[in-house]
């Protein structure tokens, strides 16, 4: 069975882009019961549309129902779970054993266990399987040894995060947000206190203390993970941009496909793309049991806003394309367009606004720009700065 590439989707547009750029499945949240309460999220109608779209191209949609509910929320759950079944979703992702139990007794939904439950060993996996879970999303704290031991001693499907932001704590064991901002971390309201600066009292220095972790990137270990029969490789980030989703998914798609085509390799450009699209450094974190000082930020950290993303292709006309601007570019710039399977370099020699007024620079976010070209492009191809090998 080919390893699944699983991508996040915060809304329908992101879902379509994730699938278009090579994800085998996406995970999404509904407007209730999802751990990203402040993402755009999906109404039931949109979930229905999402599954219809995905199934048409033989891909899957999983829906997160992964908050830790209080009593008042549990009363709404049965109907919601039945609605999800009616939407024909491929699985739900849960953290709470009560939610799991309701889903088992009222629906035929397939059940995956969220990383929020911090599953780290084979005994826990066996228990969760025994109560009806088919897939376990492992805690990001698992090392390679832990993952291999689980895989070798259980029959559950195993899903591992391969890319994106990390919690500083064990998922589910941090309520800093509850006590510092009154926002419930285990019901989707996390206010990311781990990114705040604190003073550590012993030291009267100007060096702040934070809990802030670097991001995860498993780009160098994909072969390893597929060799160990991991069922699904998961990308974090339901609140990330369409450009981020397209860039990250397309890189991992290529690496996974190369593995199955006996042509496994990771080129420097792909690493550079992942590096540029993130706003924090990325490392392999707990996989190699390395969680020393290089995994954290403590001071003078800058989250750099990415400016590689120049525009998105919105329409293709006979002799020109219509772009929507995201970052500054100008005549004479060498850029590259990328789509799900190809990258084409291009020099901008002429561009106009929507009313055909000539432009020397594109400097207004979301401005529509027309560029004359006969390149073979599609809507939702992206234009970015050239990333060198």
């Amino acid at each position: 069975m080919k390893c699944e590439l699983l991508a996040p989707a915060g809304d329908l547009e992101k879902l379509k882009i994730a699938l278009m750029y090579g994800a085998d499945a996406v995970y999404i949240g509904g407007t209730i019961f999802s751990m990203r309460a402040n993402a755009a999220n999906f109404s039931l109608e949109e979930i229905k549309e999402a599954t219809k779209f995905a199934h048409k191209i033989k891909k899957k949609v999983y829906v997160t129902v992964n908050i830790i509910p209080h009593n008042k929320e549990t009363k709404l759950l049965i109907n919601y779970l039945k609605e999800l079944q009616n939407c024909n979703v491929d699985a739900i992702i849960v953290s709470d054993i009560g939610v799991l139990s309701l889903a088992k007794s009222n629906t035929n939904l397939e059940i995956h266990i969220s990383t929020q439950l911090s599953t780290t060993n084979k005994e826990s996996v066996q228990f969760l399987q025994s109560i009806g879970a088919t897939r376990i999303v492992l805690a990001r704290e698992c090392s390679k040894d832990d993952i291999v031991d689980i895989k070798q001693n259980t029959t559950a499907e195993i899903e591992c995060f391969i890319h994106g932001a990390m919690c500083a704590s064990y998922s589910g064991r941090c309520v800093l947000s509850n006590y510092l901002t009154n926002r419930d971390a285990n019901r989707g309201g996390c206010s990311q206190i781990c990114r705040w600066d604190f003073d550590l009292n012993t030291y009267q220095s100007n060096k702040n203390f934070t809990f802030c972790s670097k991001d995860l990137s498993m780009i160098d270990y994909i072969k390893d993970m597929i060799d160990n029969n991991i069922t699904s490789l998961k990308i974090e980030g339901r609140m990330r941009s369409i450009y981020y989703i397209a860039s990250v998914v397309s890189v991992y798609r290529k690496v996974i496909d190369n593995y199955y085509n006996q042509n496994y390799k990771i080129n420097q450009k792909d690493k550079q793309i992942l590096n540029n699209v993130a706003n924090r450094d990325s490392i392999s974190q707990f996989y190699n049991k390395d969680y020393g000082k290089n995994c954290n930020y403590y001071n003078n950290r800058m989250e750099i806003s990415n400016q590689d993303f120049l525009a998105v292709v919105k329409e293709i006309k006979e002799e020109y394309i219509i772009l929507e601007q995201r970052n500054y570019f100008k005549l004479g710039d060498k850029v590259e367009f990328f789509g799900p399977t190809n990258t084409i370099q291009f020099v901008i020699e002429e561009m106009t606004d929507e009313d055909d007024n000539f432009l020397e620079v594109a400097k207004h976010p979301l401005q529509k720009i027309k560029i004359k070209t006969n390149l073979n492009l599609q809507p939702y191809n992206f234009m970015r700065k050239v990333i060198e090998n």
């Binding site: 309460a37 402040n38 908050i67 830790i68 509910p69 209080h70 009593n71 929320e73 549990t74 759950l77 709470d96 054993i97 009560g98 139990s101 439950l117 780290t120 060993n121 084979k122 005994e123 826990s124 228990f127 969760l128 025994s130 704290e141 698992c142 090392s143 031991d149 500083a168 704590s169 064990y170 589910g172 064991r173 941090c174 309520v175 800093l176 509850n178 006590y179 009154n182 926002r183 419930d184 285990n186 019901r187 989707g188 309201g189 604190f198 550590l200 009292n201 030291y203 220095s205 060096k207 203390f209 809990f211 972790s213 969680y291 020393g292 000082k293 995994c295 954290n296 403590y298 001071n299």
Partner: protein, 265 residues
């Protein structure tokens, strides 16, 4: 109602009806962890909290300890990691199991599912008093709740303080306080990771009167011994009108009267 103490020293073993202790290597956020051999010397009702997240390398030791505990007179084992349920199923241990995923025990629904597996619940401090009372009304089994002490609010596998010290070429010990907006949070690091506690001491003395849980837990972590003794006395003797503010100036009610929010847009 029984009062359980989480002691810091053996002097506190007999202050109330029982104690909660940890076992070295398998417990976190527990003020006193001991070697299993010492348990037989303790003469009170004992609960053992094995609440660490367990990894491959912990499992053999964990199983050995669970088996050894079955040969003692402990009343129950409190757990975070679900591996403990699976291991227990193989042996059918005589002691009780108590679900204590500290921030996840928040609904009657989930508690009832664990109750069906003959597992009791230690209810979270992240819900309101009213929600705790509702759970009591709907519960068919014994319930536990902590009503006094600093509350754990963060647990990481990472050695965050050590990483900070190394990054900045500083030397230190193991106990620190982090500050934010005039509030102080204790941060502790040990070989299991890094842990943070609330800036306030939960004062649930008055509320205990109307909670009606079978077990009320008092945590001695970072509380001076003589003051803790006084606190336990008030709970044991049901002096619900006593003002703990006579003893402490950083008391708080936590979430007892404050519902958290999660949708802000």
């Amino acid at each position: 109602m029984k009062i359980l103490v989480m002691p810091t020293t053996s002097n506190q073993y007999n202050l109330a009806d029982g104690i909660i202790i940890g076992i070295k290597g398998l417990s976190v956020n527990i003020p006193l962890t001991i070697e299993i051999e010492e348990i037989t010397k303790i003469n009170t009702e004992i609960f053992v909290s094995l609440n660490k997240n367990m990894f491959k390398d912990d499992l053999n030791y964990l199983e050995q300890i669970l088996v050894k505990l079955n040969n003692t007179n402990i009343k129950g084992v409190m757990f975070y990691d679900l591996s403990i349920i699976n291991i227990s199923k193989k042996y059918n241990f005589k002691y009780d199991l108590i679900w204590h995923q500290e921030h996840m025990v928040t609904s009657s629904l989930s508690i009832s599912i664990y109750n069906q597996m003959k597992i009791k619940a230690w209810v979270s401090n992240d819900i309101t008093l009213r929600e705790m009372q509702e759970i009591k009304k709907e519960s068919k089994d014994e319930l536990f709740a902590c009503m006094f002490g600093y509350l754990p609010i963060f647990a990481s596998k990472r050695p965050l303080v050590t990483n900070y010290l190394k990054t900045n070429n500083l030397k230190g010990n193991s106990t620190y306080i982090i500050h934010k907006e005039n509030k102080n949070y204790q941060i502790i690091e040990d070989k299991n990771g890094t842990f943070v506690y609330t800036d306030f001491i939960l004062d649930g003395l008055k509320e205990t009167e109307n909670l009606n849980y079978e077990y009320i837990i008092l945590n001695s972590f970072s509380i001076p011994e003589h003051k803790f003794k006084e606190v336990v006395y008030q709970f044991v003797n049901k002096k619900y009108d006593y003002k703990l503010s006579n003893l402490f100036d950083n008391l708080g009610k936590g979430n007892l009267y404050q519902n958290t929010v999660y949708k802000v847009k």
